[in-house]
Amino acid sequence: METQSVLNQAVCYHCGDELNLSKITYDEKEFCCIGCRNVYQFLSENNMCNYYAYNDNPGSRIAGLGHFEYLDEPTIARQLIDYTDKENTIVTFYIPAIHCSSCIWLLEHLYKVNQAIFNSRIDFLKKQVTISFKHQQISLRKVVEILAGIGYEPLISLQDVVKEKSNSVNKSLILKIAVAGFCMGNVMLFAFPEYFGLSELEKNFQHLFGWLNLAFCIPVTFYCARDYFKSAIASLKHGMVNLDTPLALIIAVLFIRTTVAAIFNTPSFADTLTGLVFLLLMGKWVKQRTYHHISFDRDYRSYFPIAINVLKEGKEKPTSINEIQVGDRLLIRNGELIPADSILLKGEAWLDMGFVTGESDPQQKVLGEIVYAGGRQIGEAIELEVVKPASQSYLTGLWNKENYKASSKTTNFNDSVAKVFTITVFVIAFASAGYWYYFNDTIKAWSAFTSVIIVACPCVIALSTPFTLSAILSVFDKKDFYVKNTDAVEQLATFNTIVFDKTGTLTSTEEANIHFTGKLTEYEEMLVASLLYQSSHPLSRQVLKTLQVKKILETEHYEEVPGKGLKASVDGVEVFAGSKRMMPFSINAKENGGVHIVINNEYKGCYTVEQQWRKNLNLLISKLQHKFKLALLSGDTNKDEQYLKLVFGENMQMLFNQSPHEKLNAIKQKQFHGEKVMMLGDGLNDAGALKQSDFGIAVTDNINNFTPGCDAILKGDSLHYLPNFIQLSKDGLKTIKICFAIALIYNCVGLFFAVQGTLYPLVAAVLMPISTITIISFTSVATRYFARKNNLI
């Protein structure tokens, strides 16, 4: 039944939104709004309707076009452009709206829209498009306007997402893997005859093979394994032992034995050496796996536009935010962000500080008052004078504080094991060498000493950790929990305190309940619906959806005041809808926000938007309650305290009306008392606390939205899986420890041969891959088992 109704439901041909009364029919297709229809019309005129052929309703709704005048300013444009010469310019944009194959098709056929754009290429996973155009025929601004016009507005912010993501580190690692793999393959080829026993004829080749093997080992040791030596030397200088120390030692010993073998024409360890380095590098590569489409290092700059209008001698001039100086006069329009702390000089300022404080009701500021950076102006254009440059404002101070946690000095399991491991191996190696030396067998002593070091290779530990943790990482991301890297997964297992933010974290930003406080007759509802029908403001559309009216009445003298509301005469009756400031007389309603309604000079009531608590909140809390200390830090008022006490219990610490700095300090205080704190937050107002906490999780309803810098990003719908995530990471650590035990068994077998000085290279060459394969298959099986146990698969 339900699927049937979904199928029958009419949706917008362009964006797939549910159609309501206000649908527009064009070209026998139905659209939800003028914006969608315009895009369709534009595409069909340019013969680009293939866009709709690859996916149903591929478009996204246009939220209103931005201003791009600043792109005409050469200094600003220069910051964005990758390359330019006399004729051509290449620029790369980050476009969050890219989501399906239709997007690729459309954006790669931009040349159909304008001949001057001669090439455009998409990198789908990174959501980037690289556009080449002839700048004499089309300006950068025009290119961006075309993109915005078809619903793909690039995100141009102060923090350049495109340029900060370079993957040069990864490239050098891949080069090393390629070299190691190449050498390993060739060495194996020459080692095979030896495995099967050499005939008389083949004996002639043995000498050649020995030298060839040595030749292949040189790049592997001195190029591919260089980082291990560097890291080992660096840690020894500090008097410490990390996991790289025994690894570097083994590689060195293997190389020496291979050299000796080549000289004396004996079987060599070249295959073990190359195989070991290849596997270690593979482990490193698995560990470095990251998400291309998510950035974990965003700061306030991602939220800020790249330029703002500065008034100079009565003229507007777009200026880069970095160049704004104290004393500059800024012009801020409706919906624009204030980039620096300033004094209000002109106009009526209604600032939405939701970004900074989490409080959503706009605040009014009077002339001469200081307005803080991060506020969004709602209403008419205002003029400000800058008192502090953007980089030193109250908000950005959250990032500039230097007393954040020292970058993870926590030693992980690996490094702590490595120490014990190295010492044990040395004791055994020296003991066996000493034993054979005592019996005057110098050759056996040397052989036993090196064999012990080779066979006791901790490569299994070096591999089990990245493989287990990255397997967990991919289980997490199937449930929309994106952890920054494998180290963070390991840290996830170590918390005792969890701190929640309220708005946007425990409540959902997308779902909202709309209530009307008063009562409307059917006719009055029709009047309101007819008025709202004219507006494309999201709140109007939300309210309109809840109204079930039969027809839309005629509207005259329609007027929409940005940031305030709407008015018109509908069917001859004066109707007002919007904020209190829009109403013709002052109103004593207790609701501040919402959509107030006045019909015929009579106040009727208010549509209030209530935040919806996330589903399964009770379950989540009751699961966490026993294992962790919970706390709540909210920037909002304490209006929900009663409900929260019911959910969290009476004893929980709850702090309301917290400023971003107070949140940060609250976390710091907890850490001072020895607690390890995990913080869940959403907005910029939690950014400081997220960064200060030992593990910050940004909760968001849309993964593509900007989230503040953090260790992990969690989709709001998956919040109730949090206990399972934590449990799985604990199980992951358990898996690593079991791997370690398995490795020890293999090592003991190897040691049995090694201490006797009879470790034939073949044994080492067989033992190492077998133990590696065992470990890798064990980690993936164990991870799947634990994931199933925790209901994550």
Binding site: N47, M48, N50, Y54, S101, I104, W105, E108, R121, I122, D123, F124, L125, K126, N167, K171, I174, L175, A178, V179, F182, G185, N186, L189, L201, N204, F205, L208, L212
Partner: protein
């Protein structure tokens, strides 16, 4: 059997050529985006043809 020496040399040379080809492709950025080309190849190229057909009929 000394031909084997020559063959071994050949095999290493061949392998080296492939290794260098891989280096070149990596430097060239061919592995930067391994997802999009897979989608791109599925797009039809028929739109321009359609247009010319229409023109033909109208004439």
């Amino acid at each position: 059997m000394s031909i084997l020496y020559f063959l071994i040399g050949c095999s290493i040379l061949m392998a080296l050529i492939f290794l260098l080809a891989f280096f070149w492709s990596l430097k060239n950025g061919q592995h930067d985006d391994v997802h999009t080309p897979g989608i791109r190849i599925l797009f039809d190229d028929d739109v321009t043809e359609e247009k010319s057909d229409k023109d033909h009929i109208s004439q």
